[in-house]
Symmetry: D2
Subunit: 364 residues, 4 copies
């Protein structure tokens, strides 16, 4: 509890890092959508470990199998179960955790919560849980593109305090993002980010950063007042990811220093309707999309798992020095890009279906 | 949709700014809790307009009536309905909105979403909707205090880029916060914040800022992996508030510039268990409370409603200058403090009950 | 918990029998629907006590007030709060309950569940809770009629083992049902039912019976496999009513004695599509409406509250004879007719919106 | 939508009859419960086809694999994913369905709802979907037994109008039920039921019947007023099963003919508390368990799939005679017994956890 997200487009994820498998069940994907494993695999490949020497050495091919909900290449409207077998399981790496919790990891809190301790320490807090999210999010994003022309792109904006990247949110593509192994599409900045990651790795340390993203070509009207505002659902989705500590939409924290007359987005004619001259709102007003791009930023702390020994206390209270095996990323941001995109897609697909329930012009 | 929040401790709010009433229904409040209107009224009084010349001149006494769920001063475990009549309704002030949407307000998106337009323009996007949240949140906070000893305090940390306030999150009280009309408990900073608000008002303009808060004395174990992590639920709750644009927990965005070895919170013996030497995690690890204070920050943009005329486009696309009546705050932060506290309480009460369902040591 | 029903068309009810008020909040009613109190009052008047000497003497005018969600006679798409004040509160009538639970009433279980005892004994198990259901159901039924042409009619089919009434489900109207105070539209049977009710009253006793109903002119396609099948949602809705003990759809229990070749409904051409020659399915196949009338029956036990003394045990275990005041119906069926209609309407409105979320032909 | 059931003990099922696999994900199973495949397999073996010549010849071993949530034989409190591969897939058997819907089957409604047609006609309406329910229900029942001492037994009470079986609900065991291939534990009646099933099969026809069941040793206090009453949740769960048309709790429809003075259950001292002298309530009062056995009955129609040709109309409206392959049961009741038990277990486990959230004596 709770591994289910969404009201009409619902995803349930499952699986431990060192158990047999991870995956997801999507309930509520509209019928008649073309779908095969390749659509999903593309995003899993962007998330999987072992993409290069910036990421963990854990070796997982992360091949997805569709177990249900698709027939002859079309979705049936029934639950779509997605399965990814774990290949490189090494629970023994974590034997040291039995006596002491790793700093800033979920070992301590999972034990306090459940009274049992998974072999991997933090259980579902593992980044491996996000495999199911990415698989399901790829389906959501595919539907959003086919049914509504919505596109979602995220990228690495800052690492270790370096940046922000200069990126044109109106035009940046996933190919632009993937052009550099850091997934920072600012060619001038990316090498510096890579260097910061390598330096941290060399020190057995880790670095954090910021991922920015945009959802483009949403119609006006998505998002549900009061508690399910679009930005609220995004914030919840992103803050449910491992290692995230902050969220901004539109002008975010920076906008708090401005006056209303500076920050307000003036309406202007656009096509047959209205648009806004600026986008400090980040594409939402009153929790509802206004047709402008939805722009957001997500803060990732430096990973808690370090190669070098760390001080901690045993469950008996004694201070010790802890060295843990396992294979971890010095920086999660490059691999987190498709994860962030997945969460945005899951949120939007759900809100799109809810708004569709009203039919044209409010269901009348 | 959706005006309901929570799984076991559930609140549903209702009411438009210029309709007959606003209020809330709480379903799932534990039975046997002492409760009367005074507990609720105290927080409503902190939220209500007309507290002084820093806030809107709208005149509302905001007296709450308990309609159900309480008998002889004790909760029954049944729904608690809370009613606040609107007294100072002036829908005519908004007549100008029929032809043109106010910048950065919900007029445009509500119309796009529902196909009908409330008299007040943005309908449930109004800050008046938060009356129900504050009333329900006061009940939640009361239960958290009585049943678990949990305390929640929020305060104004920044206004118009001034600050941050220096506040000891371990000890600050609501009385400290209320000592100054800005609800900034840093006596050295508060006068400057007040001056910034007065200056904006004098210009017919508005200013934004940051509210910080802390939840103290939570046990370890609250918060539900995967999608209902404590910080995810907080982020959603705060971003569902009008005018919010950002959220941080613990080290937030600032922590993204640090290395893991700097940012990790080392475990140390505390009492009969463990605590952490630092609290960059903000009281959560893996989405579960660890027993340290839960610390957070919420970004509020400057209010979109300005006293002075603003440019906008009519629904016909023509550029116009719009002057709207209504009575608005130049800065929402002082009144938003109890609202932020309410949202934190609603989140924690729900997660507390979910964890309680497991019984001692995981329900066995 | 849990006083909320529905996913998209959601109703939350509140209120105790002897507290200040009862009511409901509807969240998710589509915008732009014409609505005023009269639409709701009509069904409340059919439910209210004191309609004649067949019902309880409790005196309640049950006037509804719309607190929100409606403006200028149109729904806004926002929560519709509905309030009915209790007028004839006599909690003192129940003083005898402090020491002993009434047989087959909720006094004992409510106390076991909550640890506190409402003045009226069973709290939310009271039939008075259904005021909120009827008010909300009237809105749902109104929307179903306006938006989809769906009509719902229920009637008394059996009382005290007498019947079943002969009724043409294809044509019976609410006016037909209301023609006799028993709400049995079979003119030949109704006087006998009335006599049975009067006989029970004369004995200080009570009688049960069966309500039948039909939902007409549904399109094919409503109802959600697997767990939210149309008949499953109806069954849950009806069995959530006080005093209900059974539910049937279509051929029900009687059909279990038939062979498949007798019970199957053969498809035939109807208009431009297909219909079925018989309707043993009761309008659903695989949990989804097939366009035929949805026909159902609901069993109501004789009310547990009797005018005459009853044996029971005190909480101390001693056998006693209990005489309780209060004002109760010797037979709930006539007043339960609008309640049953309300529950059917709430279920259908929710399923209609969920199906609408798929758009024409499956959302593509 | 919607393949998820439950609020705290939640199950999501997936899978088509002729796709790669079926299964379930349980979210919210308490941690620390001993669990392995054998616990689940025992109930799957009672449900699986090919148990004898009374059931379908479809050949499926239905071996379950636990994919997550269990480690070293104990549940972790995380999602438990359960996988059963389909072995005997023959979608080609259903080719005839492309042009015409089978009578009383879901072919027509699924097509109307989704706009696409699964190879097997009714998709998730297939009895094969219940594999996931049985697997998940076995886990729920196991937990109920270990944590609360609750036992659930269902049996075949009537077939083809024969019966009811005479069974002592206080003592009947699953072994008693399994003693005869009909799963009717009344040794005098069972041979007649078997004969009726064989006769139907010989005619290429099918027969329906009634399954009765009991849940024993529940504590008082489970079940949630208003909409989530214990009997409401059971009714919904059972009516969500393929082929079910009716539900009764306690005195059911028969009790509607009695007077209150006959039907009421008088309280008597029992142990240190109270029990009732009779159990017409079926173990619930006001929707809450009272500590007596929960007794219920479920009506199953004769299966719609017949070996012999049936009349129907093509989608073009022309009357045709339809012969469908596939391999079907002439009577589903013997195999439905573990399915009914599973649904009861899923409902009770969820309500048990919700009540546990209140802690001892109402959460105070």
């Amino acid at each position: 509890m709770s591994s289910t997200l969404g009201r009409l487009f619902r995803v349930t994820t499952f699986g431990e890092s060192h158990g047999p498998a991870v995956g997801a069940v999507i309930d509520g994907c509209p019928p008649g959508l073309s779908l095969d494993e390749a659509v999903i695999q593309a995003q899993l490949d962007r998330r999987r470990p072992g993409q290069g020497d910036l990421t963990t050495a854990r070796s997982e091919s992360d091949q997805v199998e569709i177990l249900s909900g698709v027939q002859s290449g079309l979705t049936l409207g029934t639950p779509i179960a997605l399965l990814v077998r774990n290949e490189d399981r090494r629970p023994a790496d974590y034997a040291a955790l039995a006596g002491a919790p790793r700093p800033s990891h979920a070992d301590f809190t999972v034990r306090a919560k459940y009274g049992v301790q998974p072999a991997s320490g933090g259980g579902r807090a593992s980044a491996r849980e996000t495999v199911g999210r990415v698989a399901a999010g790829a389906v959501a994003a595919h539907w959003l593109g086919v049914a509504h022309g919505v596109g979602i792109v995220a990228w690495v904006e800052q690492v270790a305090g370096l940046g922000p990247a200069r990126v044109d949110a109106a035009t940046v593509t996933r190919a632009d993002v993937d052009a550099h192994p850091t997934r920072c599409p600012d060619a001038a900045l990316a090498p510096g980010l890579e260097q910061a990651i390598r330096a941290a790795r060399a020190d057995g340390d880790s670095v954090g950063g910021v991922i920015a993203g945009v959802c483009r070509d949403l119609p006006a009207g998505w998002g549900e007042p009061v508690f399910d505002k679009l930005e609220a659902m995004l914030a919840r989705a992103f803050l449910s990811l491992p290692a995230t500590k902050g969220f901004e939409i539109g002008s975010g924290f920076a906008g708090t220093a401005r006056r209303g007359s500076q920050n307000n987005d003036v309406f202007v004619a656009r096509g047959s309707g209205l648009g806004t001259a600026t986008n400090n709102s980040g594409g939402v007003q009153g929790g509802i999309s206004n047709g402008e791009p939805v722009t957001f930023r997500v803060a990732f702390k430096p990973p808690a798992s370090l190669a070098r020994p760390q001080r901690t206390a045993g469950y008996d209270g004694a201070q010790i020095e802890l060295s843990v095996g396992g294979r971890h990323d010095p920086c999660v941001l490059p691999r987190a890009v498709p994860i962030v995109e997945a969460m945005a897609a899951l949120v939007l697909a759900d809100l799109a279906l809810i708004q569709a329930s009203r039919g044209p012009l409010g269901g009348r």
